[in-house]
């Protein structure tokens, strides 16, 4: 048995030299990185998922798209954190809705004007004469324009142009154009299908009661009456008068279902339901609708198409209509999941 280990022990001075060399090598490593970074995909930052998802569909692998306001978060109330501002500052293109949707982000977005291309998608896609006014007086518009698929279809060329001009390389432009054409066709089919679906609901029951006024464009496009408990923005508190008004409507019109939204506390809807019951009416709470944000990412509802599909299905089924079969393009889209 050896009583001592015979390991090669380098002389002290030599080991220090080795260490020094290692440190220098480590220090020089980051210098190689910028070259690699220049090859990284361009970054597009969208505020809400409805924009971000469309941008991702169009950009494909030509750009990286991130969304600030996550699923289940309310864009009316969202305030940017330092991390968000950092992400925005690294973007090659910023896409937001506009029309006061991202009330809490206005100042931050203004700060980037002139430095980074910033595009207000909703404002560009929907001309003033096609916008719905938020109140009788004043020039404030309802920002929930994506609820009308035929309108949001017009956002596709806006996003496409922005991507091609500011984000993706020239080489990618044809790919983006092709994807945009395909996506536009998909949206056309979705719109037609939604029209047919809502039409199947008996006329007297075509009333959509939701937590806040996010469905005006939806109502106008698909021929259904909408009633929101809170106003256009969730910044203000729902008032007793609002609850009573909506409850009265539900009872008088015998509306079968009320809907909660993914981004809003269901308390107000529950309060309306209680008020309805106290007046001798009956209603149920339908499936959760996605109005201000997409569903969880990785699920069908986490995409714009999936969000509308889900909303229309939930509304039609709860109100007593029948869902027509999906057109080929949509059926094909569904198989993705």
């Amino acid at each position: 048995m050896p009583t001592e280990l015979n390991l090669p022990v380098p002389p002290a001075r030599a080991s220090r030299r080795h260490l020094g060399a290692l440190l220098v090598a480590l220090a020089l490593l980051p210098l190689g990185a910028p070259a690699a970074r220049a090859q990284a995909a361009p970054l597009v930052v969208a505020t809400v998922g409805m924009i971000g998802d469309v941008a991702a569909e169009l950009a494909g692998s030509c750009a990286t798209v991130t969304t600030l306001v996550g699923s289940g978060s309310d864009p009316h109330l969202y305030r940017a954190s330092a991390g968000d501002v950092r992400a925005l500052s690294r973007a090659d293109l910023i896409l937001y809705g506009g029309l006061h949707l991202e009330a809490g982000l206005a100042q931050v977005l203004d700060g980037f004007e002139g430095r980074i291309p910033v595009v207000a998608v909703s404002e560009a896609a929907v001309p003033a004469e096609r916008r719905i006014r938020a109140s009788a007086a004043g020039g404030v518009y309802d920002p929930h324009v994506w609820m009308d698929v035929s309108q949001w279809r017009d956002a596709v060329p806006v996003i496409e142009a922005a991507l091609v001009e500011h984000a993706v390389d020239a080489g990618c432009a044809p790919e983006v154009a092709a994807r945009a054409a395909e996506y536009r066709a998909l949206l056309d089919d979705l719109h037609a299908w939604a029209l047919a679906a809502i039409a199947s609901v008996p006329a007297e029951q075509r009333v959509l009661v939701t937590a806040h006024d996010a469905f005006e464009y939806f109502g106008r496009a698909y021929g259904i009456e909408v009633e929101g408990i809170q106003g256009i923005s969730t910044e203000t508190e729902a008032a007793v008068a609002d609850i009573r008004r909506v409850a009265e409507l539900v009872v008088v019109r015998c509306v079968p279902a009320l809907f909660v939204e993914s981004t809003i506390n269901p308390r107000t809807v529950n309060a309306v339901l209680e008020a309805v019951e106290q007046r001798g009416g009956r209603a149920v709470i339908g499936d959760e609708l996605f109005a201000d944000a997409l569903g969880a990412s990785g699920t069908p509802e986490g995409t714009y198409v999936g969000m509308l599909l889900h909303n229309v299905s939930a509304i039609v089924v709860a109100l007593g209509g029948e869902l027509p079969p999906l057109p080929a393009t949509l059926a094909a889209w569904e198989t993705r999941w």
């Binding site: 699923s71 508190e237 008032a239 609850i243 209680e274």
Partner: protein
């Protein structure tokens, strides 16, 4: 301008629910606020309500979703923690009570806002209605809320009535009480706990920012007119209940009028009137 006759308004079940909830809450907050004001701890109510915000968010995070009991429990824990930490700061480090309370009010609220902004990235955060805790959403009072508020009101006001003499002694001259072997700390803690519970329950209705006003204003109004602690308690509860009732009815009649802030405005108006015309002129403004 009310758009319909008052009688119809008063009979509406939604209005009754909201008004009743507000009334019970106003009475409880007013009565318990009496002790806070007399103990020169008006800031205590403010601190506890502002420091409840991080607890609401933590409750949501721990329950991994919207759970009202978890959020209220969290609010209670952080609110009381702030009160306790302020006490420690005052006792052990000799910081003035107001300064200690003010420190934890700011810290707690800032922590709450930071947590809120972190949480808004989480899915489902919006539906948790966390933001509503800032200013309350009195209009959405449910019958289940009424049960809770009613139970809290009964419990706290019942305890006050039962232990009135002790609470009076401990509030007026805690040193004398302690010298006689009375468990002063126990009673003081009990009063703080009752106040915390009332605040937490009231948060959903009036919100973090305004709750303290509902605790303090009725007591200030009552102080100007009352000659005994019993009278002050009754008056304070009455002013609180009245303010809450008027606020609820006003917001029911006038579309777009938020309930919580209206209640607080009525309460402070009562306090202002009492200060101007009450028999006890020359109110002490320091330490209020």
């Amino acid at each position: 301008m009310p758009s319909e006759p008052l009688r119809q308004l008063l009979l509406d079940p939604t209005v009754v629910t909201v008004a009743l909830g507000a009334l019970l809450l106003g009475a409880t907050a007013g009565a318990l606020g009496t002790f806070a004001v007399l103990r020169r701890q008006s800031l205590l109510g403010d601190t506890m309500s502002h420091a409840a915000l991080p607890g609401v968010v933590l409750g949501y995070l721990l329950a991994q979703g919207r759970s009202l009991p978890a959020m209220l429990a969290g609010a209670l824990v952080t609110g009381l923690a702030a009160a306790l930490l302020a006490q420690l700061l005052a006792r052990r480090r000799g910081v003035k009570h107001e300064a200690a309370l003010g420190t934890w009010l700011g810290t707690g609220f800032a922590l709450g806002v930071v947590l809120l902004s972190l949480v808004q990235h989480q899915p489902g955060a919006g539906s948790a209605g966390l933001e509503q805790f800032l200013f309350g959403q009195a209009a959405a009072t449910l019958r289940s809320d009424l049960l809770l508020i009613g139970a809290i009101a009964l419990l706290s006001l019942g305890l006050v009535a039962l232990l009135f003499h002790r609470f009076e002694l401990v509030t007026f001259d805690p040193r004398f009480a302690r010298a006689g072997g009375v468990a002063v700390r126990v009673y003081e803690t009990l009063l703080t706990l009752l106040l915390a519970v009332a605040i937490v329950v009231g948060l959903q209705l009036v919100g973090v920012v305004l709750m303290s006003a509902l605790v303090v204003a009725p007591a200030v109004a009552a102080r100007q007119l009352a000659g005994s602690l019993g009278a002050m308690l009754w008056l304070s509860a009455a002013v609180g209940a009245f303010s809450a009732l008027v606020g609820a009815l006003a917001s029911a009649a006038v579309p777009g009028l938020s309930t919580g802030p209206t209640v607080v405005l009525v309460a402070t108006a009562c306090a202002a009137l009492a200060l101007a015309f009450g028999r006890r002129r020359g109110v002490r403004l320091e330490g209020a």
